[in-house]
């Protein structure tokens, strides 16, 4: 059996690893544009200088040799031919497959703001190359604007804080991390960043990049009318799936590649996993999709049982927060429970005995139970306790093999 995996990040690596654990003989090839395996979610640690790209490797050094996987690095897929089951790469080499996984990920989207795409010092934040560009340029730079105050943008800000630069953050919503945090928890982080010299502009749009005659970045005009002087703009306003090698009317595409619960596409023997599917771009789902696809590619039926993407943990300036499920009550049928103690903040939203969402800031000990209760919609109405004191003891049960189970 010939397996071809496009992409060597969370989904691709975990798929290849799964295939090898189930099929010792099969021929596995991984193709990736990256010439290293690295965790994209950790790139800001390279900006800060606390790690090198090599330190971001999330598998063992001998991963490919040990698992007998052929890795073609630094190469892109150029064309997928579904009829004859072949992929053409950008160096014109042709690879045939029996089973294909598309895990080509996504790329930074540079929005159509006037002059943004023209500016020389405008960079996304997704790939090792972006970080190299930032580290090369930043020594000539006094002021940097980070565009977008979502998770990636705030990662960038926290990475840049170790550097001697002025940082301005521009976010369209009324607060930073608007998908993860409510006003109270976002403000806590905003204040911490401001105390560390970061200029935060929320509730404003970027309108125009000011360039000199050689297209060097000079500033960013925002909707308040203010011009933020800057010599570099790092764009963190979202991503788009990498699909350019897929012809129209072949693989089904919506926000990304459409897959079923087996991570299979509409085309026989073509699977997809990770950010290229355009659903919830979080690491754990990419891993699980990769593992699920791997099973099904080998012919061992496995369904993806975890679709829960509304969860994130944040750790900026030594303040930890987790955000799970919804962050605000939808209407007055939702109960909102809040506990506050100084900087610490906990909010749990309940409707009809089911926890719908939680924000825990400051103390996240043992909080995986809340994640599970939200994800699995576990009924807590029989638990006679303050909602903040609920823990696994309330659902405790041990199976025959010693593993834990939830009993309601």
């Amino acid at each position: 059996m010939k397996y071809l995996v496009l992409g060597a990040s969370a989904a691709g690596i975990n798929c290849a690893k799964t295939i090898r654990s189930l099929d010792k003989e099969g021929e596995i090839t991984v193709v990736s544009k990256d010439d290293k395996v690295y965790s994209r979610c950790m790139l800001h640690h390279v900006v800060s200088g606390s790690r090198t790209i090599e330190n971001l490797n999330f598998v063992s050094e001998d991963f490919f040799e040990k698992l007998d996987i052929h890795w073609m690095k630094g190469k892109n897929a150029k064309k997928l031919h579904i009829e004859d089951k072949k992929v053409v790469l950008d160096d014109e080499s042709i690879l045939s497959y029996d089973k294909l996984l598309i895990a080509t990920g996504a790329s930074s989207f540079i929005p159509p703001i006037k002059n943004l795409r023209e500016g020389n010092q405008v960079v996304g934040f997704r790939d090792a190359e972006d970080v190299e560009m930032i580290l090369q340029e930043y020594s000539h730079v006094k002021d940097i604007v980070v565009l977008g105050g979502g998770l990636v943008g705030i990662d960038v800000v926290s990475g840049l804080m170790a550097k001697k630069v002025n940082i301005s953050l521009v976010e369209f919503a009324d607060r930073i991390l608007p998908l993860q945090l409510d006003k109270r928890s976002a403000t806590t982080y905003e204040d911490l960043f401001k105390d560390n010299g970061v200029h935060i502009h929320t509730g404003v749009k970027a309108e125009e990049v000011l360039l000199d005659e050689s297209n060097n970045v000079k500033g960013l005009k925002i909707s308040s009318g203010e011009v933020i002087p800057c010599e570099m703009i790092i764009v963190a306003t979202g991503v788009r799936p990498n699909l350019s090698f897929i012809s129209e009317n072949t693989v089904n595409i919506d926000k990304g590649i459409v897959v079923d619960e087996y991570c299979a596409t509409n085309i026989a023997d073509v699977f997809a996993a990770g950010d290229v599917c355009g659903t919830h771009p979080i690491w754990p789902l990419a891993v699980k999709q990769g593992i699920t696809a791997g099973h099904n590619m080998v012919g061992k039926e496995k369904k993806l049982e975890d679709h829960f993407g509304f969860r994130n943990s944040l750790n900026f300036m030594d303040l930890q927060t987790v955000s799970i499920g919804i962050i605000e009550p939808v209407d007055d049928t939702y109960e909102e429970h809040i506990e506050e103690d100084g900087i610490e903040y906990k909010k749990i939203i309940v409707k009809d005995g089911i926890i719908q969402g939680a924000i825990l800031q400051g103390d996240i000990s043992y909080c995986g139970v809340i994640t599970t209760l939200i994800k699995n919609k576990v009924d807590i109405s029989k638990v006679n306790k303050n909602v903040f004191d609920i823990n696994y003891a309330d659902f405790f049960s041990v199976a025959e093999d010693g593993s834990y189970e939830y009993v309601v």
Partner: protein, 151 residues
């Protein structure tokens, strides 16, 4: 793999397992007299929780067959050994994102009190023949048993 098994009804919340875990991982020495219970550097990897009837439940890492902490780890710090089945944590690799803490379904994991930078995680006493918690359990609530296949 070998797993620390639990008979909940035998637990009387004596916390011997918790003290044993702290003693075993104490950098100052493993004896009970080396143990300073106020030393925040020295946290237990297991804990006892109470349900609403105050019935104790020993919360111990299961070294799961499908470990959420490993699936969510983006740094490669959490790994499951395919031979021993043990889920190990390498704090040097850890990026302190704490996705594992958020994802452990049974609330076994927490961040360290002192630095808030690493995860407190069972290492099954790093090869010790009988884990210290099991050795110190006076009721027979905790015992080690081979549970067959792992991933």
């Amino acid at each position: 793999m070998k797993r620390i098994k639990i008979k909940q009804d035998l637990c009387m919340a004596c916390m011997n397992c918790t003290i044993a875990c702290m003693a075993e991982h104490n950098e100052q020495g493993k004896g009970i007299f080396d143990l300073d219970l106020t030393d925040l550097k020295n946290e237990s990897r297991n804990h006892i929780s109470l349900d609403s009837q105050k019935k104790p439940a020993p919360i111990f890492c299961r070294h799961c067959d499908e470990p959420e902490c490993v699936f969510t780890c983006m740094s490669g710090a959490m790994t499951k050994d395919s031979e021993t089945g043990i889920v190990s944590y390498n704090e040097d690799k850890c990026s302190s994102c704490f996705m594992c803490v958020m994802s452990c379904p049974y609330g076994v994991l927490k961040t360290d009190e002192l630095r808030n930078s690493v995860v407190i995680k069972c290492d099954v006493c790093d090869g010790r023949e009988i884990p210290r918690c099991v050795e110190n359990c006076p009721t027979g609530c905790l015992y080690v048993e081979e549970v067959g296949v792992c991933l």
